[in-house]
């Protein structure tokens, strides 16, 4: 990589402005094409048969009656998706999750699929498939699954990370530990110690658009997939591996995305659609119903967390410890490990220890959900921090400021921090008028901090300059939150032209080099770096062409504010050449003008936020309403501030739903009781106040403009901030998320009964 990513401290003309979004009109007029909006001539309808059992051996599947039904063109089972994973355990889990092989591991696990001429025929065919199950005992609760007597989900899993290799299989796939210092010594120095246990229920990302794709496999081994995804290049890799296709022959095109939040980083139905198309010899469209999205895509973990924090009278934390148990669904994961890494990342701690346990349960395979695992850990830690501040008698903001991590602090997950923004977000909260606004009866205020790593990754970008001087920018990171506008601003900034001259698109997998997914808050961070690099490469060509037009040495040509400028006294009579003028002559000066970039964008820079929340709790019903909410977060540099604010608001809104309403409710039979938006209620506009935002800009030293990722951190503090607000409103510490009306009433009743 011949590109210097260091922060340059430059001033900006386009970056930091708020132009209209390029995809806005299409989205509000219905022209935008989402996953289910794509159609092909002759396409079939795909439908999936799912296990009604939480845990069962699949003894036999008879598809003969379904295959004979008129209009059915293909029926597949796991036999049609043979294991091509070559010992890759994670890919095998993905394959098994797409189509159960020996056992159905959760209510909703796919066991067979059909492709038929219409939806009615497909549904009829599903009813004709006979599956002989041997139902097994199941477990869905994280703590119960860890008990010795719990039903064993996978007898090949032996807990990793123990000092001695276990002799018996277990539902705990891994134990991990982070920290430094000596917590026993630290607690011995404490004047106050708070020790509490917390639970959070499983939630879904709740994207409005369900998983949808159209797959078309041709007899010559080529294939196309149109799909709603956060990473079409990654989907291509995974689908090609699972289907035995050549990567270069599978072309994946991403649609507009109606929300992903981590849930569309993983293949679910796409390999099934490709397998159906391969067998039927026709294109197959497969769209999940909402019921299927809840039962069979990837929600986040349910958790059970113990926290212990000790501090001296002066407010210095002396030790902090947490044990975190996270559900992974029926496959091994690393969700508790991420919780263990992030739990105390906001604080400067001499003695800290966190232990994570990955727990298998008969629930859908856990997937990433916006800063995965961090919100639950922050809920537990920030609740205990608030309670400890109260016991010491110190203001909770001052307490956090006193113990906040800073540049040079050893993070609880290991390395020493560079320049970070937790301190400034806390200082901004301390000074914010929200903190001084009066509260009425039954109202309470809470605040909390949050941390997320942010990632970069492999990125490839093409910038093409048209003969009319307009610029098309082809990127490979799916636009989940406005990156096309942000990247157009970056291209305009670098080239020195107007934002309106740039049009950004998301290119398909056959048109551009590989890109990692849009995850880890990396979309704008990574692709802006690649866009800057591509633009600089294009400027090099523009200078060469201007030199030709002037017939002077390229060394005498500089690029300033969208123009080639001849330098030196000997060229004093030459005027400027605009990008448009150079582009108009490109056919005669060497052909098209373009800039390309492929790079690994690393050094994303960690991110911190602090939130303030006011709630009002009805003591008769236990119903909670958020009446005011403020987000303060470090963006490094806000490329398009409106989109950054949107990310802050979106994370807070999702966190409010998680904190107050949302949860997977399983019956004793292991079946999900609420797989629909009527019974799994996400917040709508009328449930929310205007969410205020304050953007801080502490430049990331590893990006030319100082950009950090902003997409995920905003969901980390809300569970804790709202829990602290509700606890302050009702005078009882709330330790179980969501704080639904029945839970609040139960907590109040328990308090009354002492």
């Amino acid at each position: 990589m011949n590109f210097d990513p260091r922060y340059s401290g430059r001033s900006f003309s386009s970056v930091g402005t708020r132009p209209l979004r390029p995809d806005g009109v299409d989205k509000v007029t219905g022209r935008a094409r989402y996953g289910a909006d794509f159609n092909m001539a002759g396409q079939l309808v795909g439908r999936v048969l799912r296990s009604p059992h939480a845990h069962a051996i699949i003894k036999k599947i008879d598809t003969s009656k379904a295959e004979k039904l008129a209009g059915v063109k293909a029926v597949i089972t796991a036999k049609d998706l043979p294991d091509l994973t070559d010992g890759d355990a994670a890919m095998f889990d993905t394959l098994d999750n797409c189509m159960a092989r020996k056992k159905a591991l959760y209510d909703g696990h796919a066991v067979a699929a059909v492709a038929a001429i219409d939806a009615r025929t497909a549904r009829q065919a599903l009813k004709l498939i006979e599956v002989d199950y041997e139902v097994l005992p199941h477990v869905t609760d994280v703590d119960e699954a860890m008990q010795h007597h719990a039903p064993l989900i996978n007898d090949a899993i032996f807990t990793e990370g123990l000092e001695e290799k276990p002799v018996k299989p277990s539902n705990v796939s891994k134990r991990t530990q982070y920290g430094h210092g000596d917590v026993h010594q630290g607690f011995a120095q404490a004047d106050f110690v708070v020790e509490r246990s917390f639970k959070t229920e499983q939630t879904h990302q709740g994207y409005i658009e369900p998983h949808a794709c159209v797959a078309s496999v041709n007899p010559d081994g080529t294939a196309d997939l149109w799909v709603c995804t956060q990473g079409h290049f990654v989907y291509r890799q995974h689908c090609a591996q699972l289907l035995g296709l050549e990567v270069s022959k599978l072309r994946v095109t991403s649609s507009e995305i109606g929300g992903g939040f981590g849930g569309k980083t993983h293949v679910w139905a796409e390999p099934v659609a490709l397998a159906l198309s391969r067998k039927a010899g026709r294109p197959v469209k497969l769209v999940m119903t909402r019921d299927e999205v809840f039962r069979a895509s990837g929600p986040t973990s349910a958790t059970s967390i113990d926290v212990k924090i000790g501090a001296r009278k002066d407010g210095t934390i002396t030790a902090a410890e947490a044990t975190l148990r996270y559900t992974c669904g029926p496959y091994a994961g690393m969700w508790a490990e991420i919780g263990a890494m992030t739990a105390f990342a906001c604080y400067k701690l001499e003695n800290v220890k966190t232990v994570g346990y990955e727990v298998l349960v008969n629930r859908p395979k856990t997937a990433a959900y916006r800063a995965p695992s961090a919100p639950m850990a922050a809920f537990a830690v920030e609740s205990a921090v608030d309670e400890l501040a109260k016991e010491i008698g110190i203001d909770p903001v001052e307490f956090r400021i006193k113990n906040a991590a800073q540049e040079g602090t050893r993070a609880s997950y290991g390395p020493v921090y560079g320049p970070i923004g937790i301190g400034p977000t806390l200082e901004a909260v301390k000074e914010h008028p929200h903190m001084r606004a009066p509260l009425a009866q039954n109202q309470g205020r809470g605040m909390a901090c949050g941390f997320w790593f942010n990632f970069g990754g492999q990125t490839c970008t093409d910038l093409n300059i048209g003969m009319d001087g307009t610029v098309s920018l082809a990127v490979g990171t799916v636009d989940v939150g406005g990156s096309r506008a942000s990247l157009s601003l970056v291209a305009a900034e670098e080239l020195g032209i107007d934002y309106g001259q740039v049009k950004a698109i998301v290119a398909d997998t056959s048109s551009l080099g590989y890109n990692d997914m849009t995850d880890g808050s990396r979309g704008t961070f990574s692709s802006s770096m690649a866009t800057i690099s591509a633009a600089r490469n294009a400027i090099k060509v523009l200078r060469e062409r201007a030199a030709q037009m002037w017939d002077i040495s390229v060394d005498d040509v500089a690029w300033e504010k969208g123009h080639a400028v001849a330098k030196g006294e000997k060229h004093g009579n030459l005027g400027k050449l605009s990008l448009k003028e150079i582009a108009a002559q490109s056919g005669k000066t060497g052909g098209p003008i373009a800039g390309h970039s492929e790079l690994v964008a690393d050094g994303a820079g960690v991110s911190f936020a602090t939130h303030i929340c006011d709630v009002e709790v009805d003591p008769e019903t236990g119903s909670t309403r958020v009446i005011r909410y403020t987000v303060v977060q470090d963006a490094g540099k806000a490329v398009h501030p409106t989109y950054v604010e949107g990310q802050y608001q979106g994370g807070a809104a999702q966190g409010i739903g998680w904190a107050l309403n949302e949860e997977y409710i399983y019956g004793k039979d292991g079946r999900l009781q609420n797989p629909g938006f009527l019974d799994y209620r996400i917040p709508v506009c009328s449930d929310l106040p205007m969410i205020d935002t304050q953007i801080l800009e502490i430049p990331n030293p590893n990006h030319p403009y100082g950009v950090r990722g902003v997409g995920e951190t905003s969901i980390v503090p809300p569970l804790a901030a709202i829990a602290n607000a509700v606890s302050n409103a009702v005078g009882v510490r709330m330790s179980h998320i969501p704080m639904s009306p029945p839970r609040i009433l139960a907590a109040l009743e328990a308090e009354r009964e002492g």
């Binding site: 890494m341 990433a368 290991g414 560079g418 990632f455 970069g456 690393d602 050094g603």
Partner: protein, 81 residues
């Protein structure tokens, strides 16, 4: 020679050590020598390891140099949403 700090799971595979010393000029050489010195690391190296150099996390830039005296910390490769 750089001193490399291992996270818990990796430390267990290194016989309980939390730090190892490796003669390496960049991440690529670091991973190669770690695999040579500690064959048990290979499955984790295949799964993906991130390297924090003076607090900045690198996941894929194997050409990143390891400056003399830098704090080098190995971490698991994490997922984002």
């Amino acid at each position: 020679m750089v001193e490399v700090t291992l996270w818990g799971a990796l430390g267990q595979l290194a016989g309980g050590k939390s730090k190892v010393e490796v003669e390496a000029k960049d991440i690529r050489e670091l991973f190669r020598k770690l695999a040579e010195q500690h064959p048990a690391f290979e499955p984790l190296l295949d799964r993906g390891i991130a390297v924090a150099i003076d607090g900045t996390i690198y996941r894929d830039t194997w050409s990143k140099e390891l400056p003399e005296g830098a704090e080098v910390f190995l971490l698991p490769r994490l997922a984002g949403g």
